[in-house]
């Protein structure tokens, strides 16, 4: 051990930065229909390969291929497409609203619409979702009124959350949508607890949760996988790998060293890796996991391989840390375009219908927004009462909060 070599610290960096050419040459894709579909009662140990493959159903020609093809009827697909269009139109409108000063903050899910819309379609309406801030599509697909979402974003008098939460931190128990936390990852093990409760009660409802690639680094990710494995909780644990965590590429979360799906292996959790921009693939993977969970076979970890096509939030400018044309170079395309292409390919849709559906989505959003704005926007119009600030801290307001409310003079 004389003359030992000098060590050096490795800090990973993405293949390209602003001013450079986008480079996705490292991305390994399976072909559509290529990956096997194990039975839902397959032992996790016997399907470890799935964590390194990529489930894809739609090919470049818009054909649906292979064992994972969920074979949905055209009407369902059209509904799904409309929901994705609605989500995107909603995002666009709210983004503009923030830019117009009508609220403080907004976050889009552009390019990731399939992840939540397909999940909502593949799960039962009474299954419980513990989303991150980028699954607004779940609410939309489950029919939560757009105007309620807007009231929340605008913190106006009709905001169901009474102006207390940052925009987009929705909550609706009635729609199986858990109150979103500003703290990353905390909902992941909570979902496991909810699922354990459902199993404890002999219920038949399952839970699902979503975190980003970056968020997998939190201890809560580990707790979720571990408790889910130990107690065979009926839960679907989704990692939405959209390649970026604000300005950090997925390699900073460990994504260069292995797939996020493969994190499941060490817990003995079955893990699927799926083309997140392929509605059919996400649907099929979710369905597989939901069926497994509902059959008392426990949790599944699903990595959704996708791309955050826009900035992290209204506070972010991605051109400062990645090539501005990177989104266009993303090899898995756009989820809306791909589903549209498929519907057209099977003769169930046309460019004209797409135009009309898009216009309809924009119209719905516009109407809802008009209604919400008529109530109020952040600091303008009808606002929630400041008095309610002291409510819901506890079920009953204790003396000290009563006094403070008095001091505030309301």
């Amino acid at each position: 051990m004389k003359n030992r070599a000098r060590l050096s610290l490795r800090v990973p960096a993405p293949p390209s930065r602003p001013g450079e050419k986008p480079d996705f040459s490292g991305v390994k894709l399976s072909g559509a229909g290529e990956v096997r579909r194990p039975d839902i009662d397959t032992r996790a140990h016997d399907m470890q390969d799935m964590a390194f493959a990529l489930i894809r159903v739609l090919d470049d020609k818009g054909e649906a291929l292979g064992a994972w093809n969920p074979k949905l009827d055209a009407e369902t697909l059209r509904r799904a497409l409309r929901n994705m269009l609605l989500t995107r139109a909603y995002d666009d409108r709210m983004y503009r609203a923030q830019r117009q000063g009508k609220t403080s903050f907004y976050m889009k899910c552009t390019g990731e619409e399939a992840v939540s819309i397909a999940a909502a379609f593949a799960m039962q309406p009474d299954d419980m979702c513990f989303p991150s801030y980028r699954q607004q599509g779940l609410l939309i697909a489950r029919g939560y009124p757009l105007v309620e979402m807007m009231n929340q974003v605008y913190s106006n008098a009709r905001d169901p959350l009474k102006g207390r939460q940052l925009p987009i931190m929705y909550s609706s128990k009635a729609h199986g949508f858990f109150t979103i936390s500003g703290n990353l990852g905390t909902q992941f093990p909570q979902a496991v607890g909810w699922a354990m409760a459902s199993a404890y009660k002999g219920d038949d409802r399952i839970a699902a949760s979503w975190v980003g690639d970056g968020t997998t680094a939190e201890g809560d990710f580990h707790h979720a996988c571990n408790f889910a494995s130990v107690y065979k909780a009926p839960v679907i644990l989704n990692v939405v790998n959209n390649q970026w965590a604000i300005s950090s590429f997925a390699g900073i979360a460990g994504g260069n060293e292995s797939t996020f799906a493969s994190r499941g292996i060490g817990y003995g959790l079955p893990a699927l890796r799926v083309d997140g921009n392929d509605f059919l693939a996400v649907y099929a993977a979710t369905q597989w996991a939901a069926e497994r969970a509902r059959s008392n076979l426990g949790a599944t970890l699903i990595e959704h391989y996708t791309y955050r096509a826009e900035g992290h939030s209204t506070s972010d400018d991605p051109s400062r840390y990645r090539p501005s044309d990177e989104a266009k170079a993303w090899p898995l395309g756009d989820p809306i375009e791909r589903l549209k292409h498929h519907l057209i390919a099977i003769g169930e849709w046309s460019e004209e219908q797409q135009q009309a559906a898009h216009a309809d989505a924009v119209e719905q959003v516009k109407a809802a927004n008009k209604e919400a704005e008529a109530v109020g926007t952040l600091g303008h119009g009808e606002l929630p009462s400041a008095k309610t600030m002291f409510e819901d801290v506890f079920k009953e307001m204790p003396e000290h909060l009563r006094r403070q409310r008095q001091q505030m003079g309301v």
């Binding site: 607890g193 699922a195 409760a197 404890y200 009660k201 839970a207 707790h223 979720a224 506890f394």
Partner: protein, 337 residues
Amino acid sequence: MAQMNMIQALNSALDVMLGKDPNVLTFGEDVGYFGGVFRVTDGLQKKHGLTRCFDTPIGEGGIVAVAIGMGAYGLRPVVEIQFADYIYPAYDQIVSEAARLRYRSAGDFTAPLVIRTPYGGGIFGGQTHSQSPEALFTHVAGLKTVIPSTPYDAKGLLIAAIEDDDPVLFLEPKRIYNGPFDGYHDRPVQPWSKHPASEVPDGHYIVPLGKANVVREGNDVTVLAYGTMVHVALASARDANVDAEVIDLRTLVPLDIETIVTSVKKTGRCVIVHEATHTSGFGAELSATVQENCFHHLEAPIERITGWDTPYPHAFEWQYFPGPGRVIEALKRAMEG
């Protein structure tokens, strides 16, 4: 009525609630088959079944997170953190999640969980089996903090905590699990059986949260204490030979300000006692609150007798522990002040 020590009383509370409400369940490290390192859950798995009382992985953050999810479902989980010193990995889930769920969802989701954990010194547990972290939680809006000082209160408060719809941190003064230790560490240990509050009803009853208990009436000085220090305060009052009124706070949040203020207005003097480190301890809040409410009645400075601002050092248990020596002196100073 049975005679119970504090461990038995806590066990009885859990037993009663597991029997009464199918939504109650309890879990934590070693709480299942073994019954907990302090035996508080002894026999409960056998009696109520594997899914009602079970072991968990050693991940305090996971334990609390899972309990929050269960609470959101509609259960009333009671979790044990093996020592309060090990609650910090769960701090984010308690502070950012359990305490805020109701507020941030405008009542849509709630987290009616109870976190039980043994705390405090006096057992030669060293730095990581002796801490009193209550003030790290009393600062957090949305969380209740409860500390019993007798078997009777322990059972009644724990049942009240389980039935409460808000998250409750339930700190158990482990030094008095087996007897009402008064701080005289060189005298023989007293068992609970000689203390009236070891008479504990077998069935269901509650001691309401948010109500302090005047455990000794007096006219000259008010002593505010909780947990083990209630017994130290009582012994000190007796041995200082002052007409002290001793208040057992029982609940730190929400605090029974009225009982405190009424007493201090009567006595004009106040001594606060706790084991936790001094700076930013809960004594600071008590002192500030008393001062704000009783300024014109105060005849002497309010004093805080607390642990020192150091980690709890193994070999210096009794130099660290705020025992009768220091409390008696403080009472005398208060009377002179």
